[in-house]
Amino acid sequence: MKKQYLSLLVLISVVPLLGGCWNQRELTDLAFVMALGIDKGEKKKYDVTYQIVEPSNVSSGQTGGGGGAQGPPIVTYKSSGNNLTEASSNVTKQIPREIYYAHANILVISEELAREGILDILDKLERDTEFRTTTTVVIAKDNRAEDLVSTLTNLDKIPSYKFIKTLESTESLLGENIKVTIDDLLSAITSSGKEPVISGFTLMGSPEKGTSQQNINMTRSQALILADDLAVFKNGKLVGWLGQNNSRGAVWLLGRMKATNVDFDWKGKKDAVSTISNLSDTKVTFTVKNGKITANINIETIISLSEINRAFEIKNPNEIQELEKKTSVQIKKEVESSIKSVQKLKADIFGFGEKIYRQHPKLWKKIKGDWNNRFAEMDYQIKVKTYYRESGIRDNPFWSDINQ
């Protein structure tokens, strides 16, 4: 009896060994893909560029005996295929390590490819067990994705961080770009009442010089990656760009405005005042009259005075009202122009369709089929309410004293 128990115990203790480390991979056997660049292929459908981190060149700490000459923090490999899986299989011919997607945080799609359609690349990214759908997507404006992915950057040694951090800081401080993940992109594509919008990135300078380590040894980069306009998609294809003036209005309308500056004239001086809107809320409701849909856009925002280059009486309620009013007018102007330009593209990136579906589900069923045209002809009313709250650590500007 005891012998039986003993043998059973031995058998059970052997069970964990049967797995035999089947999934074991040492960190040093992995090639961490940090960014993925997808271009329209020359021979095959896609050219995919893999930005792979070179760990020992990134961490400045001791690496135990290694040291010596430091190379670039990343290397890029390029392969091509008629789909992403083929490209990813082909690239193993060049990379000595196993490709590992779990830490990829940027997907760059070239404008050329985006104009032809991005639907064919999304399933692989969503289905892959390693690739995260929280990965940020950007569009390479006027550039090849390969060039963007291969450029070395300052401050953040790993270029893919540069994309994300730039996006995050510009989204929270300027409000002209938004961070879109693969998840967001997919939900916008699959929704009938919403079209995706993706931030664009561009390369300033020479793509060739950007790949050289010299680029990060100079105070003035020879090649600089920077966030640019917003790309408007329709049916999975890029149909147009929202430039600097229009993209901020779009961000207002999307309700994703975190902070931005609003400039306007004051007492005859051009752009004398700059206010920062800190906390904003956008509400869109729809009213239907005689079959015509009107969007009522209500924007509320709290502003602080950032700069004023003209005399100003801070304790005067009239002056403050004036300040609030002028900010409101300026915001309204931006939003209006944004709606107009998007209506021209007939792509409802603001998700008005989804909102109508929520507010008037019956109506939405009727107009769903013809939504893009209806969106283009839609009426809108914009109301902006501004609340002045603070003025920095000054009250009246020194201009008030000079003029007296």
Partner: protein, 538 residues
């Protein structure tokens, strides 16, 4: 098991054939009785003790009668013998006729507090070997045993293992009586009962079972006595022997009896209804029953305020888990779940491991084993060379090992954190179990990653829940869960809120704190203060 018991039986048989002294059979009075002729008795002692050199025998003459005193040097207080036995014996003049010499001797000559009459050899050896002085008188078949036990002993000193910032500074010594006195000095209640017994067929070690009658559960007291009586072994050199013979489950890495070198800790355990087992010759007193969470309760928890002590206790529990899973998390993270590590850290670790030739598991194993060797060596080394170990140790698990390319810096940190965390468990016995199980979890992690760690931890928890200490569930009050009993588990409630003794340990007499004990700003009526005085219960 059966082989061992067979061997034991064989040994016992052998012993019977041997020539040395066995305890005499009480049913055989001829052998047992003390001889009337004192010289016969002296000769017999000398023979039976093999003429041991520490046996002192001295023939004396008290008035007109001959006799002898026998004692063992070193076990006795020589001053007491010379002042209160020898001196008074020598000063005794003629003893009047018609008086019982023995009684005269007992009443007028031996000036000792504790004397007793001995009539058989078994008692005689018990007394003699405990440090008493035996006085034989010619013509009497009984002997006087005078309590002269004493001799060299270690003074009460500061605890060396279970240190505390605040709280009493005394600790148990090797003397049974000193130890029981240290406890009794703290609990001045007639209900603190002490029962004695001797364990160890050869060593005849004195054992004291202490408990507070009325608080301790009678059933558990009976069980403790039963288990102690069951012990049939030649040696008890430390309470550790007893611990191993009375615990419920041998095949576990968790201690199911508690031990402490601090009288205050043992006293508080007694007041919770536990039973203390004090063994002569051991500065560690056992208390039973023991539960899991008890090993994370440091004496400081009760001497300092509840907020701080609760936070520190949580820290200790977290540290226990770090000590348990630290290296295995590293192994699992770096070899199976690279996606779980933040990108920057993953890259940093990858960079550090670039030049390490071993897989993560072996790297961790090398470092952990090295550290354990270092720790063990540090424990055994004489104090004079102790410094050498710390210097060499810093080389082996430090910068030098990293520079040699054997391990990565992050591994050094993991090992160090694990080691430090391991030392934060207040009771060594529990810290050791984490130390041991760590290696099991490392092996599991190296095969199946986090999944293996989870399986290991689950088996561990199931095992913990199955354990019992003297019938009390080991994971009490977590499993079986009792909300009322959580007063002293993860968070130590304020003293005034710890109203009850732990359940299952003291059955019946549960309330320990009176009502209205919560302090506060002065109130106008004196009602509260008068009530609180009454409220204190035993």
């Amino acid at each position: 098991m059966s082989i061992i018991s067979k061997m034991l039986k064989k040994k016992q048989k052998q012993r019977k054939n041997d020539n040395y002294r066995q305890k005499l059979d009480p049913s055989d009075p001829g052998e047992l009785l003390i001889h009337r002729a004192y010289q016969e008795n002296l000769a017999r002692i000398k023979e039976e003790l093999g003429n041991s050199s520490d046996l002192v025998s001295k023939e004396i003459k008290i008035g007109n009668i001959h006799g002898a005193i026998v004692f063992i040097e070193g076990l006795t207080e020589s001053k007491v013998i010379s002042n209160f036995i020898l001196e008074s014996v020598m000063q005794t003049g003629e003893i009047p006729l018609g008086v019982d010499y023995y009684q005269y001797m007992l009443d007028k000559t031996v000036a000792l507090g504790s004397t007793k009459t001995i009539t058989n050899w078994n008692d005689l050896y018990d007394s003699l070997l405990n440090g008493d002085t035996i006085i034989f008188l010619e013509g009497y078949n009984k002997a006087i045993s005078g309590g002269t036990a004493g001799g060299e002993k270690r003074a009460v000193s500061e605890p060396s293992q279970q240190l505390s910032i605040r709280g009493p500074r005394d600790s148990f010594t090797e003397m049974l009586r000193t130890n029981t006195a240290l406890i009794r000095r703290r609990i001045k209640s007639p209900n603190l009962w002490t029962e004695s017994m001797k364990i160890g067929t050869v060593t005849q070690t004195d054992i004291a079972i202490m408990y507070i009658k009325g608080i301790a559960d009678d059933k558990i007291i009976q069980e403790v006595k039963k288990r102690l009586n069951r012990i049939n072994m030649d040696t008890v050199l430390d309470s550790g022997y007893i611990e191993q013979l009375i615990e419920e489950q041998t095949y576990t890495s968790f201690p199911t009896t508690y031990h402490s070198e601090r009288p205050d800790v043992v006293s508080s355990q007694l007041l919770e209804g536990r039973i203390a087992i004090v063994a002569d010759g051991s500065p560690f007193v056992l208390t039973v029953p023991a539960i899991f969470i008890q090993f994370f309760q440091a004496p400081d928890d009760y001497y300092s305020r509840f907020d701080l002590s609760s936070a520190l206790r949580l820290l200790r529990i977290i540290a226990f888990f770090i000590a348990l899973v630290g290296p295995s998390l590293y192994i699992a993270g770096t070899t199976f779940h690279q996606e779980m590590i933040p990108t920057t850290l993953a890259i940093a670790i990858a960079a550090q491991r670039e030049n390490v030739p071993f897989p993560a598991f072996f790297e961790a194993m090398i470092m952990e084993v090295t550290f354990e060797i270092l720790r063990e060596a540090g424990l055994r080394l004489p104090k004079s060379v102790g410094q050498a170990v710390s210097i060499v140790g810093a080389l082996v698990i430090g910068q030098a090992a990293v520079q040699a390319g054997i391990v990565s810096p992050v591994m050094v940190i993991v090992v160090s954190i694990t080691a430090i965390a391991n030392f934060s468990t207040p009771v060594y016995a529990m810290a050791v179990s984490a130390r041991l199980l760590r290696f099991v979890l490392m092996v599991l992690a190296s095969f199946v990653g986090f999944f293996g760690i989870m399986v290991g931890l689950m088996i561990m928890v199931i095992h913990l829940c199955s354990l019992r200490s003297f019938g009390v569930p080991y994971m009490e009050p977590l499993a079986p869960f009792s909300r009322k009993n959580l007063q002293d588990v993860f968070i130590r409630y304020p003293l005034w809120a710890m109203k009850n003794r732990p359940m299952h340990i003291s059955e019946g007499n549960m309330v320990r704190t009176g009502e209205h004990q919560k302090p506060g700003p002065p109130t106008q009526s004196n009602k509260d203060t008068s009530q609180s005085k009454k409220g204190n219960q035993q």
